[in-house]
Symmetry: D2
Subunit: 345 residues, 4 copies
């Protein structure tokens, strides 16, 4: 099946805010995304997805950021310092649970290549690696992910990128279906007509099939066939905006991802690492500006629009992860069906 | 219109967990609820709702508890100590925003009447008062709520109680409609066939009409008539269970209320105090057991059922608050329409 | 005994950062402090202390702020919203535990007088009231504190103010001694020679006598006479600066108060509400600037100086609260001795 | 210099609670500690320290636990899940900043060896790795730490272990001096005469020399010689007890470490990951008890004793880390002097 989710499910009145030009997180100018898909046909169905807040040196010029742990049954790395300092200083890497250590090391090495004094004359770097467990179809004990895959994903990051069963999403399962990586974006228009972009990218690996709501309809409206399995998955949500939100405001945006999960039918299952990270590309400054700098701030009165837009972007990003997922056969025989096949004719 | 929400909207496959016998928070044994409704026809459309975790001396025998602040634009009192000690030691009072101070004082005085040494030979007491702003139809500057109303609500608490535009819900507005107070409950059945009750009571005062989803359908499916207003409201969620959850586990349950708000169409609007409080009636012990006591603990593996049940109970409690709301004329001419009138024939 | 703590205990090398001109929180320009001392000789030994971040309309022009709950065994009001929005929009009121409700109401009424649309056409206001329990010498069940006392304290706020057993500190007990209110300030000098002021004011009611360290010496070096009592007290810490710290950075400053308590010999006793609040007078803007505004930000690299200065200011503020305390006879016969009497000749 | 810190600095009245039999964290029965010290004489001055809450299978039988992030400028792994579930399910590994990824992987592999279904039929495991930056004398870019070192430290864990410049402490710097690993313990005696042990182990790498207080005296009382350097370090604090504290109570204990740092003269410097983790060996149960289990709980009234004891244990653990440190020459010529040499004759 070709086309987008919206071709089959027209927006009707479900969505309020318009999408950005490509309905991708990269509608936020400067943001790029790259994948390394590792699907060998034997035990590997995994990969790496990199999100770059900008293409410069993030260690020298970090972005303002925040996180929200909706459910902390997860092994992501880098959140403690992100929360303390309110900034992200490496590309954001998404991968499988057991690859967090290796990906952290790969990010550190990469930062050292750009700034050889890191850990010597300069402080250490805080690698940000977020994960879900693709163990249903990928043998995570095989530790497939390597430094090179991280570098590849970062080096190939661009404004255009694939969704579904690609990159870190290769082995993921969403509401019982294959997929993965999804993205969406919204335009936020303020009272004075200023427009900002807000985009979401998810690594989606959560949800109990019988609970899925597609634009409000339970899946049973479409399909009763597949067996249901208790939700044991996770979701990582990355939000980007060019609006000048500070870290506290970005934290408020992060939390709203929980409403999007609710709209999709999730109850934030127990065995799940549901974590959102948000950053702003605005007000960035070099660390060598080491005393003070000027910033623009948005009044709190504007936040409602960002909250609403972020809930829509996250909800649609998950639906896109479902839509673009392609059926997958697991390393030990489990199969993940294709969501969009339900709607083919 | 008579009957319940479920009479008009049959459960179909929307809900998974069965309700308790009365579909009320008081299905949790020992819990009681009382109202004082203050609707004078001039400036007052407000009141007090009291939830009693048990009918004994809560200062001597507090209940294990937790809270979650989904959105902190609110003025509730007592949460700092609740979070530190993981317990509730007074009845829970719901009221309007400006009445928090007076209700706190009323709770303190009441605790002193039961334990005259409080603040003298004994520590002070931590009154728990949660609020929403009923200023759309009630003149909150008039400070209508009194000590007597708090005492009345507590003294008249019982297992049966009214919903909708009553008690603290008298002047509240939910997704543009009148109401209020709503409740629902679920039975949680564990693998070993043990059953527990989990109930929710909401003081609902949130939501943007155009965003409401009733069991997945946007309201536009039923009604286009009323003007839409930006969400500036709040919601207080009280959850009760007889399952032996400790305060950390209750905190995890609290957070899931955010998923329920998402299912209803809320994006946790900016100007909103969205706060959940949960308590367990199990493992209670007297403060005079001042060294150690025995407790039963539930394995974390059981939590999924409580999470799912709590999301359903909160969602249905809000729908009940809508359903039982009766049209209200505000002190300065604003009118809040009746939700269930949309479905009359 | 006349003079300051520093007259008897010269700074030696204990302190590193220089004090501001008056060694008071009001060294931060625009900040003022007022007291109402209520000591009737019968049951009342209590009062109110007001800290005004600036003399304008705080509801229209809130200040950036943060809080840290070191120990949450306390009943302060207003912290939930302060944390969510990162701002303070009323004077900060310090008082006794049972007076929180009445002082909240007094602040709300005062805000309405300045902005009559609050709670009608405008949102409600978030009164910030922090408390300690002066029940050792004051009969808090008598509810001595009134609206008028709150207004008096605010109306009489100035750059000069008394310390010790005054205002909210009238009935407080610090490490077994009378007092109270203390203050101190530091000058923070950054690498580029810019100077900022940082001031602390404490409502001190904590500490176990045998654990007190005065500039590193346990009190036993000076005095063995008085009986020791288990620490059941609290401390409220208010920090002010004119440096352009944002709410996240102010939160980091708040937490360091815990180090100051450690230097004084406290182990943050169980039955204690140890709460710090910090605000910056910089980057303030009117709410009617409702889209965006310009701000200056300080690089995180500068934070060390503020942390160090805040620890010193809080430590010395508590020592000043001790130093300026005057012996007090409680309503039921308990006596609080005078700290500085130990050093008289 | 031989002997202990206490031989040269007699306790006098500085400490209140008695130490356990060996004044080590391993005074808590079942706890063991192992080191791998990697000091090659060229670029490596680093290592691994393992703390085992018990000698059984921690994945099957996790211990109740909590953490407190005093200052989050750090890269530790495993805290998100620890906070969510309130338990530790692997040995606790301490190491250098850049070794976190490799040590996480080593812990995961080890858990898989014990439970081959992890990540396949069973959930993934949450490796707990805490770090400080030993980059002053160790070349962390060389990535010296290996799987084998982690296994060695765990396999050689015992009740007796060395302190100072050993294991993860090999390259650490405390208040300008070499060292490292320190430990201490206290006996907590409750009102009913029950006794519990509480122990601390620190990986100490923080503090500005001029600010150090040794039992209340600034170091200038002993030594003016060495140059002072701004505090850029970190401290990891591990607390263990056999008292039946639940995760909320353990979290309260964790936070008190901040008071201990204050007593030592720290202001919790900006560039520091100051993190405390606490666990209880009581109430442990197998995951295969998957519905409910019995637990003993301690009344909150007992907490004061644990707070006081933990502050003392952490303070003395840092002093022991200093005391047992041996002078170190860094890979690029920097030297860390020996603290105890100041007191030799």
């Amino acid at each position: 099946m070709t086309g987008h989710f919206r071709d089959t499910f027209p927006p009707l009145d479900w969505w309020v805010h318009p999408t950005g030009p490509n309905n991708l997180i990269t509608d936020v100018s400067g943001v790029s995304v790259g994948h390394y898909t590792h699907n060998t046909g034997d035990t590997a169905r995994t990969g790496v997805t990199a999100i770059l807040p900008h293409n410069g040196d993030l260690f020298d010029r970090p972005v303002h950021a925040a996180s929200a742990v909706l459910n902390g049954f997860g092994k992501s790395a880098g959140l403690v310092q992100l929360d303390e300092l309110g900034e992200i200083e490496t590309p954001i890497i998404l991968t499988n649970t057991f690859a967090v250590g290796d990906c952290s090391k790969a990010l550190t090495k990469r930062a050292i290549r750009a700034n050889p004094k890191i850990g010597r004359k300069m402080p250490t770097v805080n690698p940000l690696v977020l994960e879900c467990n693709d163990g249903v179809v990928n043998d995570i004990q095989a530790y497939h992910v390597t430094d090179e895959m991280v570098d590849f994903a970062i080096d190939h990051a661009s404004a255009n990128f694939a969704q579904g069963t690609v990159g870190a999403g290769t082995g993921m399962k969403t509401f019982g279906f294959a997929g993965g990586i999804g993205s969406a974006s919204r335009i936020v228009k303020l009272q004075d007509k200023t427009k900002y972009n807000l985009g979401a990218l998810v690594l989606s690996n959560f949800g109990q099939k019988s609970e899925l709501r597609v634009m409000g309809k339970k899946l049973s409206a479409f399909d009763h066939a597949c067996p249901d399995v208790v939700d044991k998955g996770s979701i990582i949500i990355v939000l980007a905006t060019n609006a000048p939100l500070d870290s506290r405001q970005l934290g408020r945006v992060c939390k709203r991802s929980g409403a999007a999960l609710g709209r999709l039918g999730s109850f934030w299952g127990h065995q799940s690492g549901d974590i959102a990270v948000a950053f702003s590309t605005a007000n960035s400054h070099s660390r060598s500006d080491n005393i003070r700098y000027d910033a623009v701030r948005l009044s709190e009165n504007c936040m409602n629009e960002f909250f609403h837009a972020s809930v829509e972007a996250v909800e649609e990003a998950v639906l896109n992860a479902l839509w673009f997922g392609r059926a997958s056969n697991g390393y030990d025989g489990k199969k993940l069906p294709e969501f969009c096949a339900l709607f083919e004719q």
